[in-house]
Subunit: 446 residues, 2 copies
């Protein structure tokens, strides 16, 4: 039996490795268009911040290891061009332009996502970068090394934009963040966003929301970024305005695509065609709170979905539960995290939304070194259910978020969550954990 | 209506404050035998470690505030001597030896716990200390200030013993820990205990398990601690061998006591007598995993139980869910945490126990500054349920424990927990969180 995989990143290589572990006799082939497989994409901003480290430090497992130790037929430099679901065949083209055909019994599409490049003049100029693939990270590192970069203009204010603002500032560069809409992260409660924005400004980052960029143009060896109320000069521009699922191959093969253009899959990661699975940033998922299809590209799910595909291909029946969009990032001295629905998402999904923001402390009364923890919690008045949590703070945020994520999977009510027996010690929080205080406050509004 | 409370610490003052918030017209009286109310007992080791801070920094709210701002009849220096459940009357004695009687409609016994003093010669010598009340903490600080203490011998290796080892070492003192039984913390998986013991030794603490202390004696102005295979000299001895519930009043009044001598209460915190509640370290609770009565004295539960009593006294029907014994402490650079059952407790409770220990990392592949995280996870082969988790590590342990605690309340299976959508970013953990890796490994043994 031949298991063919298009895409050698998180979902693809997870599936390949697990399939071989499940069934060593299985023939597993991976087609990867770039030269890189199995690297920590999320680690790129931290790697870029460190001139002393090569970008290849992020490679978790080299192609040879997959080939020689694991017996996976891994073809780098092979771009899949077409899927023929009836003939169960994929046509690829090599780096040298040679077409090659690969037959399969089961196919996994793990083509990931691609960065959105705003359609403005100058977006293809040298020095205008994106950050998604290891090649992108390599290009940014090389550019920063080769040029006398002093100021970087970042388009966007999402995770990548903020992580890169920190990385570039760590390199001693001036950073300006700009985006067309007001506010910072679109999903974030305004009270929490204000904390993040204050931290960015405190760290010397220029934050310019509500500005549309119309053009990037060369200007005396630099780059000029202009719009109706914007005129900036920098040495590099990073377009971090988002990503979109790379679902063109799937779509051209007649597979059903949906939310945000992502490939529609069932709980087994199967597409609208029996023998074809999709996993990772190119595929959609069901939301664990609403039950509706969503597209939330994140690393853990990509790995997990890759495993699920491998298990299903090998004859186990593996169905994944829904996603919560649990995410965390670090921006300078702050930890920012979310899980589940925002208040707005909850309203849109038809819940009778109640929400609260509390400010608590990261350590107990009288314990030195405490800082503020801000918790935004959303519940449903109708059912009493907990719907979502966001947090910002200098410590104790990233892992604290795991608890409401588990509560959301368990469909706990806010009251049940408020009664959770959470561990307490003075260096780690108040007796009433910030999460419990938020739940207690939210209960009063339900 | 008169609500009388015996004991002015966590449970007692939580109940008093909440009752007054619920019903400002309620007459609330608190009898506290010491001069101190509402202080952060758990903060004492950290306060003792800091010569520059007064022990009274740990007072959260002063007695006058309770009296004047909250209208609570707070009588410090009043020791309750007898409860007459039929007459609904408590007899107390003042610091000056005057008897006073207090009638009640509802009574809360919140007498807490008292430290166990080993019954050995010399246990009452000056310089032999315990640490439970603020007065104990004050005495230790004063002793350390007044004497040229160089070495402290700590009897016991529980939370307090370990936290105090760190505190005393921070003051530049030599510390020896000793206990009769082998091993470190009795509940801890040996692989994890070895990590904690190595940290203690690395920090210069002498660790002598398996030694029985038979006698403490004065010796040239110092204290000599001896036993069959022990002969130590120090300037102070801290007896930290455990605590027991202070249930003598309740027992003498004919109330039912049970596990470890704790006052037996129902989910509403009601004792075997209708009008009498108990809460805090003197009361038992039901375990959320086994459903059985347990005595696990911890601060959050004391506060929560105090609230529950106030709500019930005020006519709301408040039933508390079970406890998990979730606990965390810091010992030097390590965070140590547990929730739910140990493998041994699980076996004793009749579960078909499966357990695993995994070693993971606190940060992602290639992210600088990572350290080891050790996770011990226990499940039930019969039902598939998650039963308990223990963790040790330098970072990312304390709050990560919240997640399995919530999962235990929700009676999640190990498989469900293994599918939780936990947030990931390179500074905070691997893509597969250590908890998920432990769950994945445990699944293979179930």
């Amino acid at each position: 039996m031949h298991f063919l995989i298009i895409g050698g990143d998180a979902a693809g290589m997870s599936a390949a490795s697990r399939a071989k572990r499940n069934r060593p006799d299985l023939e597993v082939t991976v087609l990867e268009q770039t030269a890189d497989v199995s690297y920590s994409a999320c680690g790129m901003p931290y790697n870029i911040a460190d001139r002393g480290r090569a970008i290849d430090d992020l490679v978790v497992r080299r192609a040879e290891v997959f080939r020689e130790k694991q017996g996976i037929g891994l073809f780098t430099g092979h771009r899949a061009e077409q899927i023929d679901p009836e003939a169960r065949r994929v046509t690829a083209v090599t780096r040298e332009g040679q077409p090659r055909e690969f037959a399969y019994d089961h196919l996994l599409i793990a083509t990931g996502a691609v960065p959105v490049r705003p359609a403005i003049p100058g977006i293809d100029l040298p020095g205008v970068m994106v950050l998604k693939s290891l090649a992108d990270g390599r290009a940014i590192k090389e550019y920063l090394q080769a040029r006398a970069v002093r100021r970087v203009i970042v388009l966007g204010m999402g995770y990548i934009a903020l992580e890169m603002a920190e990385a570039l500032a760590a390199l001693g560069l001036a950073v300006t963040l700009t985006k067309p809409r007001p506010g910072l992260l679109p999903w974030m409660d305004p009270a929490l966003a204000a904390v993040v924005e204050a931290e960015l400004r405190r760290q010397g980052v220029e934050v310019l929301p509500g500005r549309t960029v119309e053009r990037i143009a060369p200007s005396d060896g630099r780059l000029r970024v202009t719009g109706p109320d914007l005129d900036l000069e920098g040495d590099m521009v990073l377009a971090a305005v988002g990503i979109r699922p790379e679902s063109r191959l799937a779509s051209a093969a007649g597979l059903r695509c949906g939310v945000a253009g992502a490939i529609a899959v069932d709980a087994r990661q199967r597409t609208s065609h029996d023998r074809i699975y999709a996993a990772g940033d190119c595929a959609d998922a069901f939301h664990a709170v609403t039950g509706k299809r969503v597209w939330i590209p994140l690393a853990l799910r990509a790995n997990r979905a890759g495993w699920a595909v491998a298990d299903n291909v090998c004859g186990r029946d593996c169905r994944l539960p829904g996603v919560l969009g649990s995410a965390v990032f670090k921006v300078f001295d702050l930890q920012v995290a979310r899980t589940g629905l925002t208040a707005e998402e909850a309203r849109e999904a038809g819940f009778e939304t109640a929400a609260v923001v509390v400010q608590s402390r990261s350590r107990a009364h009288a314990h030195p070194g405490a800082s503020e923890i801000h918790v935004h919690m959303v519940g449903d008045r109708g059912s009493g259910r907990l719907l979502g949590v966001q947090m910002v703070g200098r410590e104790g945020v990233a892992h604290r978020l795991h608890a409401p994520a588990v509560a959301l999977h368990a469909q706990m009510s806010v009251e049940q969550f408020s009664q959770a027996d959470l561990a307490y010690a003075p260096p780690f929080g108040p007796t009433w954990d910030p999460l419990l205080t938020a739940a207690n406050q939210l209960l009063k509004r339900m």
